[in-house]
């Protein structure tokens, strides 16, 4: 793409994504979601609504669960971001992936990366959640396929396995 006049207004922003320091040139108000997907090629983070309702674009920012469609990239400067690609590369978290696979927690798969990050975040806070705590904890992530029951089962299963190992 040719350089548009807007390119001059871009800033150099350094952040850590999946344990790697990265430098991106972006407008201050560019969405973290777009920077991840378009600049860094991390397309596992999905856009569902673009207004922070569906949670498909959930990532971890300094350990907090955020909707990356609502985060201006400047706000992410200097932070540590974890996306589904970062989680997938990390052996310790296999329990969650396996459980989603075995329990039917993923159907069409579009909400799944965000849902798994939300589940990961929940388990970090509450290693042994009840079904109700899971339902409440994941209620910021919308899924249209599953009716959530098998997602809740998957998180319970992952919690059991994480405790066992």
């Amino acid at each position: 793409m040719t350089k548009s006049p807007g390119d001059r207004l871009k800033l150099e922003i350094v952040l850590t994504v999946n344990n790697k320091a990265v430098k991106v040139r972006a407008h201050a108000m560019d969405r973290l979601l777009d920077v991840l997907r378009h600049e860094l090629g991390l397309t596992g983070t999905k856009e569902g609504c673009g207004e922070g309702e569906c949670g498909s674009c959930s990532v971890l920012m300094d350990g907090a669960l955020v909707n990356s469609c609502l985060i201006p990239v400047l706000q992410a400067k200097g932070t540590r971001i974890v996306t589904i690609e970062g989680l997938a590369g990390h052996g310790r978290f296999c329990a969650l992936h396996e459980a989603f696979l075995n329990c039917g927690g993923a159907q069409c798969g579009i909400c799944t990366p965000g849902m798994i990050l939300a589940a990961f975040h929940l388990l970090e806070k509450k290693p042994k959640p009840t079904a109700k705590e899971i339902s409440e904890g994941l209620s910021g992530n919308l899924c249209r396929c599953t009716g959530y029951a098998q997602i809740v089962e998957a998180v319970m299963e992952a919690a059991r396995r994480r405790v066992e190992t």
């Binding site: 159907q107 069409c108 909400c111």
Partner: protein, 776 residues
């Protein structure tokens, strides 16, 4: 490559195909891992928006802002470097300006006239996607507005004729017996009118397409879609291209629910026109608001019942008038209407019935396919009406249903003999027991007296026909392939798409089972019109039953080829099979076995009279919902949900349960949350912020039970399952709300404000009545 064997599906019914399944259910019936599941849970699955082609432009759509009018002038406003943009109008269309479907009445781009808000008029493309929204805004269109109509009732008055001569896309008349003969014999005549609203499919992945054009190779479209060959056909007609120069590839699809049945043809058409004009690949991805406002939704409906009933609660006969709002163009309304009309009589015996169904035009974006396809609308009406009949006859909701269930040997409203050995009374008993219905019912009556949160329990019994209606499957004539490959593995070739239901998983299970292989020995091709035969659209709960049976049949053809060549004996291990397949391919090249659908002779359908076998098989269900209504907020919460169904053989328990729970969740939204607010034919609340679907915190425990009866029409005894669960929950829940409050409701979605209004009114009448009594 050679084509080996063309086993007919009808002949397989009597050959070894079923026997393998019966003797040796190793894979079918178990919950193997979802085929593409690993990619999905690790974020590696590739959806259309994840794909970038070199030199790719981004496309956007300029849409009508009025419901109906003539386009006077198009002006390109200041502040935009228009020369940098590719601009496409109706004049740029190489072939016919239509989105080919049933009727070719819907233009790809408006040419001189618009018939609904959001109708596409112009297309823009640019390398920088950030510039597109401003450019779309900067196009101003002058119109000569024409009077528009927005309701079914306005359409029926013919005040304005907006489609054809009578605003009618399709009329259907189903007649059985002589309904006029029943009125004099009736002890009661029960009337009711029931309505359902538009519902957005709300797949989490918005619609999107990429198209690329090369004058040598032709046109390719990659996208989020259900029906590759629908898109293929639409592109051929629009671009005037031959089949071999038109290619459609399905990308991983993030939910569909019918919402990606017909509209993807429109988006592919738009991307194609921009790609042809620019010579560059073009990506169009809708944002949520555009997707919700412009693409299809469930048809709003109105159903009127007039039923003759005897004093012992038997239905003697009735008239049903079923009307759908189709929006501005015909699209799929005629077939949605057909399914809705056929399901309007539900799982009951009607000695005499007349069903008049009609899909009418309004100046709203066309309504379209959505899981259930007309049946959730007519079944909501019927199952509410059954409770009304019960009230009039003073029988319980349970008893009124029990006395009218269709029995084996009796005929449906279309005259189809119920041939399956289904015992609906037993199904009902089991559902009552599982839900602890009688105890709860009594307890709620006692407790509701004083409570500020009133509880109620409701039931719905219903059915859903699997596969295309009537002669539809015969016309489709689906073809499925199974291929033997170099490494000795086999590959399933179908256009049936995966969008969450588990198509790939179950079809691989079926092929593995039919061949005595392991699940891992079978692959399945990504739907690509250049690579797979046309196994029909992925709709109508037809994939497992119809396509699955053909996969089973084609797989057997592979085995027969290997056996005939002397490479494979009667019994073999998976390793021996792979060795035989490898040897065969080394000698003769890759080989394919194709199976084509042939309708069993027992399925006879008269499209003119709407008589005969509407569906090869039905799935049956009884659902029970328990609810609480908070009298302070008027909010309804579903506390418990029991879903008992008979869907034939369950091929994959985890996926099957996922279909049922997911369908029920969507139906809870349909009943209680999801309201489209309209203004002059345009959706006002096209955001997830103000169009509310259930979250994980909103849903009750959903308890799923299967009864399994074999079915000769499906692979290893399976029937369709995907749509059934969206038919019953809404009436069960609204019946439960009626039970809790003693006030019944006949329209959905039922929001707290509707309940508040009804209670106010009821209190008003109650006061008036009581004062009257006092006065007496």
């Amino acid at each position: 490559m050679r084509k080996a064997n063309f086993p007919k599906s009808s002949s397989v019914e009597s050959t070894s195909g079923n026997m393998i399944g019966m003797k040796n259910d190793r894979i079918v019936g178990t919950s193997v891992p979802r085929r593409e599941g690993r990619d999905k849970v690790t974020g590696q699955a590739r959806y259309v928006d994840d794909m970038v082609l070199p030199g790719m432009l981004y496309g956007a759509t300029v849409r009508s802002r009025i419901p109906r009018g003539k386009i006077k002038k198009v002006k390109f406003g200041p502040g935009i470097h228009w020369k940098e943009f590719v601009i496409v109008s109706a004049k740029d269309i190489p072939g016919k300006n239509c989105i080919a479907l049933i009727e070719d009445d819907q233009p790809c781009l408006a040419d001189g006239i618009v018939n609904h808000p959001e109708e596409p008029i112009l297309l823009l493309a640019h390398p920088d996607r950030h510039l597109l929204p401003k450019a779309v805004e900067a196009v101003s269109i002058e119109y000569d507005p024409l009077p528009a109509i927005f309701t079914m009732e306005e359409s029926e008055t013919l005040r304005e004729r907006i489609w054809g001569s009578d605003n009618t896309f399709k009329q259907i008349l189903i007649e059985k017996g002589d309904v006029e003969s029943v009125w004099p014999k009736a002890d009661y005549v029960v009337e009711g009118e029931y309505r359902t609203g538009a519902q957005e499919q709300l797949y989490i992945e918005n619609n999107g397409m990429i198209a690329a054009f090369d004058s040598e190779k032709g046109l390719t479209a990659w996208g989020s879609l259900q029906c590759p060959f629908y898109v293929h056909r639409a592109l051929m007609k629009l671009c005037d291209l031959p089949a071999e120069k038109t290619r459609v590839v399905q990308m991983e699809t993030g939910g569909a629910f019918g919402g990606k049945e017909e509209y993807p043809s429109m988006i592919a058409a738009h991307a194609a026109l921009l790609a042809i004009k620019s010579g560059k690949p073009v990506k169009i991805i809708y944002d949520r608001m555009e997707d919700m406002a412009a693409t299809t939704k469930r048809h709003p409906s109105r159903t009127r019942h007039r039923t003759a009933v005897s004093k012992d609660g038997k239905i003697l006969g009735g008239e049903i008038e079923f009307t759908l709002d189709g929006g501005a163009y015909a699209t799929l309304s005629s077939v949605v209407l057909s399914r809705g009309a056929i399901h309007a009589g539900g799982p009951y015996y009607w000695p005499h019935v007349r069903i008049r169904a009609r899909a009418v035009a309004t100046n709203a974006p066309p309504h379209g396919a959505f899981r259930g396809f007309g049946a959730p609308q007519s079944l909501f009406a019927l199952e509410r009406h059954m409770d009304r009949i019960a009230e009039v006859v003073q029988l319980s909701p349970v008893e009124i249903r029990r006395r009218n269930f269709l029995q084996p040997g009796q005929t449906t409203t279309t005259g189809q003999t119920a041939s399956e050995p289904i015992d609906l009374g037993k199904l009902l008993d089991r559902a009552l027991e599982l839900s602890d219905y009688e105890t709860k019912k009594k307890r709620f009556v006692a407790e509701n007296q004083r409570a500020n949160c009133k509880k109620g329990i409701g039931i719905a019994s219903f059915l859903h026909g699997a596969g295309f209606t009537g002669a539809g499957e015969r016309y489709l004539g689906s073809v499925v392939g199974v291929e033997g490959c170099e490494d000795g593995r086999v590959r399933v070739l179908v256009s049936s798409s995966e969008f969450g239901q588990g198509t790939k998983t179950v079809l691989c299970q079926i092929a593995a089972e039919a061949l005595g292989l392991r699940y891992e020995d079978v692959d399945i091709a990504q739907p690509d019109t250049q690579e797979v035969p046309n196994s029909g659209p992925t709709v109508a709960s037809r994939t497992v039953m119809i396509v699955g049976k053909l996969v089973q049949s084609a797989a057997i053809g592979i085995r027969q080829t290997l056996a005939a060549s002397g490479l494979l004996g009667n019994s073999y291990s998976p390793e021996q099979f792979r060795a035989a397949c490898r040897d065969y391919v080394a000698k003769h090249g890759r080989f394919r076995s194709l199976a084509r659908y042939e309708q069993p002779e027992s399925i006879v359908w008269d499209e003119e009279k709407y008589r005969g076998s509407a569906y090869a098989a039905f799935a049956w269900a009884v659902y029970v919902a328990a609810v609480t209504v908070d009298m302070t907020t008027c909010g309804v919460s579903v506390d418990d949900f029991v879903a008992l169904q008979e869907v034939g053989k369950v091929l994959h328990p985890v996926l099957a349960k996922g279909q049922i729970v997911g369908g029920i969740a969507q139906a809870i939204g349909f009943a209680l949350y999801e309201k489209v607010f309209w203004e002059n034919g345009r959706m006002l609340n096209g955001q997830m912020t103000n169009y509310i679907m259930p979250t994980s915190a909103d849903l009750p425990p959903i308890r799923v039970y299967f009864e399994e009866m074999g079915n000769v029409h499906g692979a290893f005894g399976a029937k369709g399952i995907g749509e059934l669960p969206i038919d019953g929950p809404a009436p069960a829940i609204i019946n439960a709300v009626g039970d809790a409050l003693g006030v019944s409701f006949d329209a959905i979605p039922l929001l707290p404000e509707d309940i508040f209004d009804a209670l106010e009114k009821h209190a008003g009448t109650a006061c008036a009545t009581s004062s009257l009594r006092r006065g007496q």
